[in-house]
Amino acid sequence: MSDILSTSISGLLAFQQALTVTSNNVSNAGSKGYSVENINLREAVGQGSATGYIGSGVNVQSVTRSYDEMLAAQVRSSQSSYSAFNTVATQAAQIDNMLSDTKTGLTASLQAFVNALQSVSTSPSSTAQRQVLLSQAKAVTQQLQNYQSQISQYGANVEQQIGNTVIQVNSLAKNIAALNAQIKGAEGGTGQVPNQLMDQRDQLIDQLSQYVNVNAVQENDGQMDLYMGSGQALVVASSAQTLVASPSSTDATKLNIGIANANGSATDVTSEITGGTLGGLLSTRSQVLDPTQNALGQIAVGLATLMNQQQAAGMDLNGNPGQPMFSVGGVLSAPSTANSGSGTLSVTRTNLSQLTADDYQLSFNGATWQLQDTTTGQAVPMTGTGTPADPFLAAGMSIVVNGTVNTGDNYVIHPTAGAVSQLAVLLTNPAQVAAASLGASAQGSGNTGNAVISSPTVTDPTNWTPGNFTISFTAANQYQVTDSGGNVVTSGAYNSGTPINFNGEQVAISGTPAAGDTFTVGPNSTANTGDNTNVLAMIGAMGSKALGGGTASLHDVANNLVSATGVLTQQAQANASAQQTVNQSATDARNNVSGVNLDEEAAKMLQFQQAYQACAQMIQTSNSVFQTLITAIQHG
């Protein structure tokens, strides 16, 4: 009889525990990171007898959680990807918004500048139109600077967020390492899995995945190791590495991520950081902010170079050669702080057409110098030796190396990033707009042919002199150009309309000249306040394909920037949205294993309740069997 009683009592206790587990499941139906727990019951070892083994009740073997490590890993990796793309998309959308206005955007204000040049060309002597031109020039510089300061702000924000994120990652890593130790301790003692600590750790790893992509590897003793990127350890057993954000060796305004070493130094692991907010912030910096800043710089350099060149080829209202219209920031270059040599670079822009919006790294391997385009990763061929007499020439730049350089030293070069910060209109007086040509031409009074001469355009202001030249036709199809001393400067066969070049200037004669006809070319007269030759050349320069190796005008570069930012934003948004969907379905799949289903729990509750009642009834039965026996003995 005692067997019935003890068997029933074991059932009673087991189902009480089962109900507790169910109750715990129901209570945690809304708890984040909670994995549904199941009670595992097993029949107790039976007692042998002559008639066979009779069971002796039920034991609670374990309480386990429903958990699938693979599904959890999928949730984490999609979470990392989503966070990264979303970070990029959020920042790119801000730039996209900033650049996208078709009415007040960059292409519109560049066109407004061209329109102002056009207005000067119709009334070259009008101070009012010249003033409008200068105001428009200021408006363009102002706009570029507004963009630049927005980007700097975004950049500063990104750096701050990188710093904050690193703090979060460190704190999470430390907590995970601590939990590893606790889990190991708990398991070692009882052989039972501490479900609550495991849930807690999984949830921390989930949180960490939002900040950086990690691979989790479970060890035999229940501890979980975390690795970043291509295998950089973050947490190993119960110890966590500390990430440090410190200024980059090549650009002090940017933070790089390192792993702190025992001696206080740090090993740079920036390239190991992928995914998560941290990966997204690093991508934002390299894929959104830097390229935008460089492209704006390229536009500033293009505008300043084209206008300043043309100003130099013209004469202002006061009769002086044109002064530069814009100032623009120079090439930024810096030696890496890791360099052992003391060498520095002097870099200047030499060729607008070859200049790119990329960044470069110049390095010395002990024997040769190498220039790498760090935006594209391509090696860039250079000519020259880097001395002042024979500078390196590459990518539209001239590079001179000063001081001592040791093997392994390297330098970063930003050809356009610093341009906008110094962009300003230098002309203060409307009269300084050099609308007129430096030169003027006239035809001889005794000419008998019907040929006419164009106004000279100065193509090379540095070689132009204000001398008087005579173009005379030695025959109807033969001309020669003589200077004021009668020396022949150039001569050739005449073709109607073909430009004749000398003295850094260019004229075209068209029509039919007669032998003996003469034309004179000399400095322009101050009286020619209505000459618009040079302002027409400025309009031409603004529309010319002067950038990108002769493929793009300023407008094209500005427009490309807008559409490239648009494409980038669109892609980042699409990727973020796709990863969100992936994450959603991975989360669903995980929850379908680990989540609580209340109907299921209700059914289990009924099941366990009924079993508990049945066991209680068995005790009652055992009692009545015992009573029957007692009664039989009393009556007997």
Binding site: T122, S125, A527, N528, G566
Partner: protein, 395 residues
């Protein structure tokens, strides 16, 4: 298959969130009227819109340029008409003066009237546009182009004029220089000019002459001299006789493909000079005539020769004004054509921009209704499924 209660809740919320985001987006399309608001909405479309907007802006500027050019060219056209009228009345005065019966006093009277015409012509040449820039000074737009000293008028302007862009591919001269309109006018018949010798004592006069056969004409200076009142010979600059013959009043004399008519009675030894034509100015035509008419030393033959040369020169000026005027007219036509083309072009560019950026209201409204329906369905199904729980039946 098992689904957790959280999954059900999360999915329902995510669905409704997504539908609300889509509805907000459609609603924004409808309320702003724009389906492309930033480059990321349609990067290629936005790049096109930027390019098209630049074209619209440039086109508006070209129209503004051509308006300025139009105003100036119309002023120039008026000035040329006025100048032509001055020369017409000068011509009448010259014809009136070309009469041997007039006294010196009468000729001087005509000269005084011509002096007035000369001043009118100078003032026309010095007209300005609305901004005070001289119409005929070329690049030297603030320099008075014509200055008069006595009866001598000089040109101080430049020999080039402002080129104005009136469309992407078309530029035109916004005006003409004073030298083109007033100064560089072909003299005489365009090939040679004739003059009476200063020492002529007869009454014969020579016409400005014509070139009949340009292929036979040899450029050079010739002298037509009378060896006696009825015999002439023409010699070139080398002293070679190129033609000779007998003369009677009103004869047309031909040589080297050219013809001159001599009228009146030459004296023995009288000479007429035939020299290559250069250029002359409209002012020169008047001031030469004034000098001729004021002269008290010229005989009738010399007078007649110089007056008829002056009439020729006045007519040359009128022809020149009308040639320049025709060229101005052609430019004005080009401007009108371009302005009208610009109008059409701007309309079509704006419509292209609209096609890319503007919301298709029909499509957007339909989409909004669809999204509304979907959201409603999601909400209702959630509300009804959420009520289902086994626990409800266990009370």
């Amino acid at each position: 298959m098992r689904i957790s209660t959280t999954t059900f809740q999360n999915d329902a919320v995510a669905q409704m969130d997504a539908l609300q985001v889509a509805m907000a987006r459609t609603q924004q399309d409808l309320s702003t009227g724009l389906k492309v608001r930033t480059a990321s909405d349609d990067p290629t479309g936005m790049a096109q819109v930027n390019q098209l907007s630049v074209l619209v802006s440039a086109s508006v500027q070209y129209v503004s340029n051509s308006n300025t050019a139009q105003t100036n060219l119309q002023l120039e056209e008026q000035a040329l008409t006025d100048a032509s009228n001055v020369m017409q009345s000068a011509n009448s005065l010259a014809v009136e003066a070309n009469n041997s019966a007039l006294t010196a006093a009468q000729r001087q009277n005509i000269a005084t009237q011509l002096q007035q015409e000369l001043q009118s012509l100078v003032s026309i040449g010095n007209r300005t546009d609305s901004a005070g820039n001289y119409l005929f000074a070329g690049y030297a737009s603030s320099t008075t182009p014509f200055t008069q000293s006595g009866s001598n008028v000089t040109y101080n302007g430049a020999n080039a004029v402002v080129q104005v862009q009136i469309s992407e591919n078309q530029s035109l001269s916004m005006g003409d220089t004073g030298s083109t309109a007033f100064m560089n006018i072909p003299a005489g018949n365009g090939t040679f000019v004739t003059a009476a010798g200063a020492g002529n004592s007869g009454t014969a006069a020579i016409s400005p002459g014509t070139v009949q056969d340009p292929s036979q004409w040899v450029q050079g200076t010739y002298a037509l001299s009378f060896t006696d009142p009825t015999t002439y010979q023409i010699t070139d600059s080398g002293g070679n006789v190129v033609a000779s013959g007998t003369y009677k009043d009103g004869d047309t004399i031909s040589f080297n493909g050219a013809q001159v008519t001599v009228t009146g009675n030459p004296a023995t030894g009288d000479q007429f000079l035939i020299s290559p034509a250069g250029t002359s100015s409209a002012f020169g035509a008047l001031s030469n005539l004034i000098t001729t008419l004021n002269s008290t030393t010229l005989n009738n033959g010399q007078l007649a020769t110089q007056i008829s040369a002056a009439i020729k020169q006045i007519n040359n000026s009128i022809t020149n004004f009308s040639n320049v005027s025709a060229s101005v007219g052609a430019r004005l036509n080009a401007i009108t054509t371009e302005q009208s083309a610009a109008g059409t072009n701007q309309t079509s560019l704006k419509s292209n921009i609209g096609d890319i950026t503007n919301t298709d209201y029909t499509a957007a409204t339909t989409q909004l209704s669809t999204e509304e329906l979907a959201l409603q369905a999601a909400q209702e199904s959630y509300a009804s499924i959420a009520k289902l729980s086994l626990f409800q039946y266990l009370r």
